[in-house]
Amino acid sequence: MANSTEETKKHMLNAIGAATVDDLFEQIPDEHITTRRFELPEPLDSEVELKRHMTSVLGKNEHCEDNLSFLGGGTWQHHVPAICDEIWTRSEFLTSVWGTGSSDLGRNQAWFEFASQLGELVGMEFVGLPVYSWGAAVGHSMRMAARMTGRDRILVPALMDPQRLDVARTYAGYPEQEGHIEIAYVGYDPATGRLDLAGLGSRLDKGVAAVYFENPGYLGVIEDQAAEIARMARAAGAETIVGVDPTSLGVIVPPSDYGADIAVGTTQPLGVHMNGGGGVGGFIATRDEERYAREYPTLQVSLTDTTHEGERAFGLALFQQSSYGSREDGKDWTGNSVYLWAIANAAYMSVLGPAGFEELGGAILRRSHYAARRLAGVPGVSLRWPTGFFKEFVVGFDDTGVPVAEINRRLRDHGIFGGRDLSSDFPDLGQSALYCVTEVHSRADIDRLTAALEEVTR
């Protein structure tokens, strides 16, 4: 701390005309000052000591580079191109807060490029700056739909990430309150894992503000009835909200093509490390229509003008409807989010380009399907839905007689993190696990998993 030398302190106190630093705290009544001493650990003054301590603690972690990991389901291991890290770690991006539209030009442009490129992937023209997570995006988008329609029920798939659903429930509130949103569930076809259309039809009535579904779904299933779901929702006067994984959008049509009104999803796979779950981010995108735009709770960066004709600048569109502009009368609320990751996302999308996304999607498809077929050959191991999935798939272990928790424990001895255990969240699926295979998994990795599973399920 630059001003901590006695000489500087004295110089500053003299300028102020105060005798001691304690005098400056005169506003705080004495009886507010704590009398109990603080017990923080002794300081690690030097960087060398601090680094040694931090490394010794964090070094207790194992990670997905020194192990072979098949965990996904909300945070996914993808290749992060080195230039994404080079770009977001630039001090200018890393440390800035808010200046003027001129002094923030580069960052605002990067954000606009995030929104523009994401819009191309999902086929939407209006995109907000990112929100905290996919769950937060679901929460905000269902509140948008409720305000737009004046209705208060949202239909969601029963096969939804339990954490994402919990976040959405938090955004929905309690029945005793005005503005409460009721979340109702639509079941799935046990044979395919896709949404049960008959069940959807029976729940669609004039009280439904929106139908939310995911493509691919939480358990990896590609929802090929998407257009029909959107048609049914529209016929009932409800909005269609679709959650998507952007890494699928080089090979799967954008949600706008099958009738989505609001697209939401995750930004983590777009060039952001998993960070122990701290890589998550969410987005909200719609058609550029006032009906939607005027319900956004986010900040939105728009192209705009300067005092000089023809000069390009960026500004915040519809700022007044944010909580910064209107406090409790604004749309939900906004604040610090994951805007730095939006820059990593922008770099990622531009370095991949259209062909990169197509190749990425293809590599994920081939490797995940290869893995599924190999695993299906392990005695006692079955695939819940052997076809029609992207990146993730459900592996059943019932016939091995070994619980998933035990299998995953044994896999760790092989340096493998097995798929997410689904047995407590989805008991109907028995002893099942969600396996995630991406472009980072080679054929040799998958063969190694297969061999290990053969051994540990024996």
Partner: protein, 518 residues
């Protein structure tokens, strides 16, 4: 140096096109394995793996660039961000140095390449850090439990509003307790999250003493009160000495009290929220605790609460077993208070933990000392500049870690506004100041916050810039009103930002609205 002794600064001007305007068809920046005959032999044609109706035929209209082009493009854009390359005293955000040692550490695979669903045995390092930070924040605030799930300060305020909801719901009086009380000086996230959580908001106005009166609070508090959500000190630099009485009043009617500790920098090491009677508080790890602002996150609003409220948290908490191993406990209570997936922004948590370990208790208190020293030093010098006055000037005690000023006199005399001054500052390599949150009750406001990091020479330079601009306002007001002049672009006008025919949040929308398609 310029004639007024300030730096001769000019921002980088790259006149950089949009990334969507760059590149050429067929150009590639990142390749993925395509030709994998041994995989194809097992899986068949890749396109057959997607149902026909959902196969993407038309590729996304993304730019086609080589990797060096992408890198240089974003480096150019980074150079067109002033921020902390100059001196940024952005009030309410506590601009601090972000130690590069933890930046480097959190990019290591033991943080970056961990998956949150790994077995806890493989995440002992992360859990130890979370547990350690929880304990240190308990020490600093007196609270009984911290969680780190909220993705920012506003998210922590939302968490509090939802904990309030769960608490009253469990007691069966949520239908009755519909109101959350806040003040006009509280950050907008407090009323906004209260409303989003389904409450009616009562906002107490600013009064003569610099805060709402005890009488106003007493009149507002009732059996309908669910909670109080306030900052203290506020963004003007005023500490409410009656805050204990406030807490007692709200508790006496059965409401909860939330301390938005956004302005912790001036009081840390001196007061504890719990000892003042508060039931909960939040700490912004991305400002007070040395983690970067990152232009607006990733951030963490660490939420701490009393043991009475802890059962209403549905965020996972880290516990230490008798054997010294750390575990994740998922609370059993089914209240809806999960605001985000997973344990929180781990890198930000690591940075805050490291910051506290580096400083210790004495360092934390010294940081608060230096913050007040710097703020009051600045005040002494700033108030000597003709045209600058102190917000609520009749309150002449030393302000806390920031002071809100007014340029109202300058505006009356010269027509130059606080927005003009902000736009002129950036011509001297000093990023714009924070003016004020809504509502503005001080005319032409500005709110610098010095914190403990900036040297006295930096503070002097910053003040010299303000003095020089106030002088320019008198000698050449047009120069200030038309600023900036040394930035990559001129002043942003922002016309059309609220006009559906003109706003454009994507390049595609812009092209359509301006007839540039095809």
């Amino acid at each position: 140096m310029t004639t007024n002794g300030l730096r001769k600064y000019h921002a980088a001007v790259w006149d950089e096109p949009l990334v969507m305007e760059m590149g050429a068809p067929g150009r590639r920046g990142q390749l993925f394995p395509v030709d994998e005959p041994d995989l194809d032999a097992v899986t068949g044609d890749t396109s057959d793996l997607i149902p026909e109706s959902l196969r993407r035929g038309r590729p996304a209209d993304l730019p086609e660039l080589s990797e060096p082009e992408v890198l240089r493009h974003y480096l150019h854009l980074s150079q067109e961000v002033l921020g902390m390359m100059g001196i940024s005293l952005f009030g309410t955000c506590t601009m601090k140095y972000n130690p590069r040692v933890t930046e480097a550490l959190t990019r290591q695979p033991f943080v970056a390449e961990t998956h949150p669903d790994q077995d806890v045995e493989t995440l002992q390092g992360t859990l130890e850090v979370i547990h350690g930070l929880d304990r240190m924040l308990r020490d600093l605030t007196g609270m009984d439990q911290f969680v780190f799930q909220p993705g920012g300060g506003a998210d922590a305020a939302f968490l509090h509003a939802t904990v309030t909801r769960a608490y009253h719901e469990a007691r069966g009086d949520l239908a009755q307790r519909r109101e959350i009380i806040t003040t006009a000086q509280a950050h907008p996230c407090n009323p906004a999250t209260a409303a989003a959580a389904g409450f009616d908001v009562i906002t107490l106005p600013l009064e003569e003493e610099g805060y709402a009166s005890v009488e106003a609070l007493r009149a507002a508090a009732s059996e309908r009160t669910a909670a109080l959500m306030v900052n203290n000190p506020d963004d003007i630099g005023i500490y409410n000495p009656h805050i204990k009485e406030w807490v007692d009043i709200v508790h006496s009617v059965g409401g909860l009290c939330f301390y938005d500790t956004a302005n912790f920098n001036g009081v840390m090491g001196r007061i504890r929220a719990r000892e003042l009677g508060f039931d909960a508080c939040m700490m912004m790890l991305h400002k007070t605790f040395g983690a970067p602002k990152a232009g607006g996150g990733p951030a963490v609003g660490a939420y701490g609460c009393s043991e009475v409220l802890a059962p209403y948290l549905t965020a996972p908490v880290v516990v230490k077993g008798d054997d010294g191993a750390f575990a994740i406990k998922i609370p059993e209570h089914a209240g809806s208070t999960q605001v985000r997936e997973y344990l929180g922004n781990i890198p930000v948590i690591v940075k805050a933990y490291s910051w506290l370990r580096a400083l210790g208790a004495a360092g934390v208190k010294e940081a608060a000392d230096l913050s007040l020293l710097a703020n009051n030093y600045m005040e002494t010098r700033l108030l000597r500049i003709p045209g600058v006055s102190k917000g609520l000037p009749h309150l002449d005690e030393y302000r806390m870690e920031m002071t809100r000023y007014s340029l109202g006199e300058l505006t009356e005399e010269t027509g130059v506004t606080t927005v003009d001054v902000a736009n002129r500052m950036v011509d001297y390599g000093v990023d714009a100041f924070w003016m004020s949150h809504e509502p503005w009750f001080i005319p032409e406001p500005f709110t610098p916050e010095a914190g403990e990091m900036w040297s006295v020479e930096d503070l002097d330079y910053w003040i010299d810039v303000i003095a020089a601009i106030c002088e320019e306002a008198r000698t050449d007001p047009e120069l200030v009103k038309t600023a900036p002049h040394n930035q990559p672009i001129h002043r942003v006008v922002g016309s059309g930002l609220d006009d559906p025919d003109r706003w454009a949040t994507t390049w595609r929308a812009y092209r359509r609205k301006n007839g540039l398609e095809g």
